[in-house]
Symmetry: C2
């Protein structure tokens, strides 16, 4: 991510990366990589596990966690805490756009934040300081446009 968005690893690249780092190409790992490459959106470990079960997968949740951890270390997979409660971690194959969300305190909705502004600001800052940015994740809370409007109206009917 020196300046451009990283690319999605091809199956060959992924396998080479595993190999070169001295890891084995087990059917479980290959299936997981395949599922992640197909299903580009963020998924949590449980969802990935259930996907694997549906696709002939002979695996366990522990293996899913261990594999995801390995993939993240190798840079094949990105992990994020996407919900504001940060209860569980979400994973996806490397190479997508960086997403940012605002969680509305009024209605609970998650509003996607235009990533370009934040990404550009972060990247130019990093460039100026000789920093290599690998991942950037932001969490916002506040009030979405509708709730902001509603609150502004209510401001006329003061309380205390």
């Amino acid at each position: 991510m020196s300046d451009r968005i990283p690319t999605v690893p091809t199956p060959e690249e992924a396998e080479a990366l595993l190999r070169n780092a001295g890891h084995r190409l087990t059917p479980q790992r290959l299936l997981l990589l395949d599922l992640l490459r197909t299903h580009k959106t963020f998924l949590d470990a449980e969802q990935i596990y259930e996907l694997a079960l549906k696709h002939e997968g002979d695996t366990s949740l522990a293996t899913v966690y261990r594999s995801l951890q390995l993939f993240v270390e190798l840079g094949l997979v990105e992990a994020r805490y996407l919900d504001p409660e940060h209860k569980r971690e979400y994973y996806r194959i490397t190479g997508g756009l960086e997403y940012h969300y605002l969680t509305c305190r009024g209605c609970g909705k998650m509003v996607p934040v235009d990533p370009e502004i934040i990404q550009e600001a972060a990247l130019s800052w990093a460039r100026e300081h000789g920093i290599t940015l690998l991942t950037a994740h932001a969490c916002y809370t506040g009030y979405c446009p509708e709730c902001t409007r509603r609150r502004e109206k209510n401001r006329s009917s003061r309380s205390s």
Copy 2:
């Protein structure tokens, strides 16, 4: 946080807020608020609990968690997952600058990110979209300046 940094609540403001929302001014809550107002930096629940014990505090960890949750709902306290592992949550009194950190994948150091750039980008984006921003938190990982330089040197001695 319409445009300016929010202010630290005074003891009176905090007590009024609790009162008006129908909550009781128990010694445990008052002590916690006091500790947080004094100790402006981010602390985790355990640290806050131990601080309370040191200061004559007759309380429990459960009460600390419950109070912190209440304070956050009332906007008196801000909660953040500051470390990239997101193991535990950190709390501080509302009103400080928003901090952002980059965690170096090389040496593990946490480099503070100049908050102004991100904050300005986020604020102007929010303003344009009629959004009220209450909190903004970002997590970065990458390589700090030293590790970036070291890696750039090593790039001459190619591997695969």
